[in-house]
Symmetry: C2
Subunit: 342 residues, 2 copies
């Protein structure tokens, strides 16, 4: 009727539950012969370990909690995939929740994960998040946290970010190499560090090349399809039109390209475009979009590696590091001046 427990096995073999427990956990202190007998009986009796009981007793769940703004987004699902991939090999399960960029939900999720005693937390914070009490909860109880992409700067923890600055620098320099003189930038909300960095890389490249920084060429918005269209509209209503645009994501790069096509301008002939993140569509649209590659999957693996190390080593006094994942410029059609190519 009810589930077989180690006590049932013990009773059947006339031994103690402790021995059964040890045998099933391959504790070498148990003689091989009894161990074998126990395992055989366990199998016969259809024994299924109850991790709940074990976790409760040992205060360890072998579970990593993950919070992302939205699961169904290429970058995040790549990271999650990477985390799960490594975690699995190390015997950890992952519990995933999405905050939908709502602080309230993020907060509740954090408490639930804590109540479930996850061994560690990997997260990318939501756009609304400016208070971190829900995360301090973990820090206080020495439960390791690893941030990725959207990090909380004031919390002491390992952080994994993308080299936004370097990527943007490279992207902008590439545009300059292709002959662009008036490069615009469509950027994201500046309360997020990543967009600050992308802006900074853009500025740096201009500065290095001795190009003037022009306020009217820089627009910030939420980087949706629509935002991109509106931004492009604004840029090309100027009398002094740009000859290239560095977009802070591929989505706006795409809608910009579509807009330009509609007003009769050609990419890359008339305007050069570079995006950011290497979305799956970027390779296959026409023209294909030059972009900066985000190593989502390996970020996930790295995050898992860091957190598991902390969990296993119980490194509490560790020096926390901020790991910057390399970015890579992928040159595609949207930024290739044909003349220069040949």
């Amino acid at each position: 009727m009810s589930e077989t427990t180690i006590h049932d096995i013990a009773k059947k073999l006339n031994i103690s539950a402790s021995t059964v427990s040890r045998a099933l956990n391959d504790n070498p202190i148990i003689s091989k012969s009894t161990s074998k007998r126990i395992k055989k009986t366990a199998l016969e009796m259809g024994y299924r370990p109850n991790s709940l009981a074990a976790n409760f007793r040992t205060k360890r769940t072998n579970t990593i909690g993950i919070i992302v703004p939205l699961i169904n987004r290429h970058f995040f699902s790549s990271v999650i995939s990477g985390i799960e991939d490594l975690a699995y090999t190390q015997g950890f399960a992952v519990t995933i929740s999405q905050s939908n960029d709502s602080f309230e939900k993020e907060n509740k999720i954090a408490h639930t994960l804590f109540a479930n005693r996850v061994d560690g937390l990997i997260l990318s914070i939501g756009m609304e998040t400016i208070k971190y009490d829900h995360l301090k909860l973990f820090a206080e109880r020495k439960i390791p946290i690893v941030f990725f992409d959207r990090i909380a700067e004031t919390i002491e923890a390992h952080k994994i970010v993308v080299d936004d600055f370097g990527g943007s620098l490279r992207a902008t320099e590439h545009l300059i190499e292709q002959g662009a003189k008036r490069i615009a930038h469509i950027g994201g909300p500046l309360n997020l560090k990543i967009y600050q960095n992308r802006l900074a890389g853009y500025f740096k490249a201009l500065e290095r090349a001795g190009l003037e920084i022009c306020d009217s060429l820089v627009i910030h918005n939420s980087l949706t399809r629509k935002d991109g269209t509106i931004a492009a509209q604004k840029l090309f209503q100027n009398e002094n039109k740009p000859d290239a645009i560095f977009c802070a994501n591929d989505t706006t790069a795409l809608s910009t390209i579509i807009y330009l096509k509609n007003i009769g301008l050609k990419v890359p002939d008339d305007v050069l475009i570079v995006g950011f993140s290497n979305e799956p569509f970027s390779e296959v649209v026409t023209p294909s979009i030059s972009t900066i590659k985000h190593p989502g999957f390996s970020m996930g693996r790295k995050a898992a590696e860091l957190i598991i190390h902390q969990i296993n080593e119980k490194v509490t006094r560790a020096v926390f590091e901020t790991i910057t994942m390399p970015t890579e410029l992928i040159i595609r059609d949207s930024s290739k001046r044909i003349k220069i190519e040949k």
Copy 2:
């Protein structure tokens, strides 16, 4: 030092732990005044509920296990997102693993999820899976299972599938309406039901229209980018070339389009194309790809709804149903005969 428990609260207030437990769970049997005192003290003492203990005692984890072949894939991450979305509102957490289409991994994951006593399991089985012992485990212990997309036909459980047949029928009919006479089909591995159904819908449409079914126009492969190119190559080496292709996914639709472009044929002018699944890129490539929409997110929500209902109602003897999610033809440029349009 150590965590505050309900006993600590009880001791401090000189009452019993049972009362504390009941108060914190809003049991109405506890008077409002004590309840208020208890909650206040709990807050002051920084009490954090230990779900491990509660779950252990109640044998209920409020957790749903999910197994998908690959998290980082648009369709699956949409479904996961939908599951999480609804589950969250019902107080359930989700634990997600990817099988990578490996039977061994799927098997191990199932056992781990069982050991962790998830309340229910939602999964899409891997390509290698032909034995279901690891799932019978759940069935035997009355733990509800819901399959989606790739279902195990011999296990009794709710199943949620996409209307592959109807979608394919509609897609093919659409091509016929647009004037196609020789319609090819690039399909997936026939050991998966979904591809059988897509093939069947294609046949049905031809039959209804009185068009001849021609073996040389039907190709089956694994539906990768490369497979699509190879298939297209084969189709257009025939003397009797197709004037339209219905592809079983958008990926092959895309690579077919690219191949045709390379050999100087125009889509849709020379060849009409329809894909399946509505990948994010399909809308934005040139020409945009007509396709059949997969309602991933709502499938996820539906799956969550079904499983939570079973969990809460303890419906063991329920009649299991197979729910077919509606598909929708999205007509884009790749299948629009301009002349017919105007």
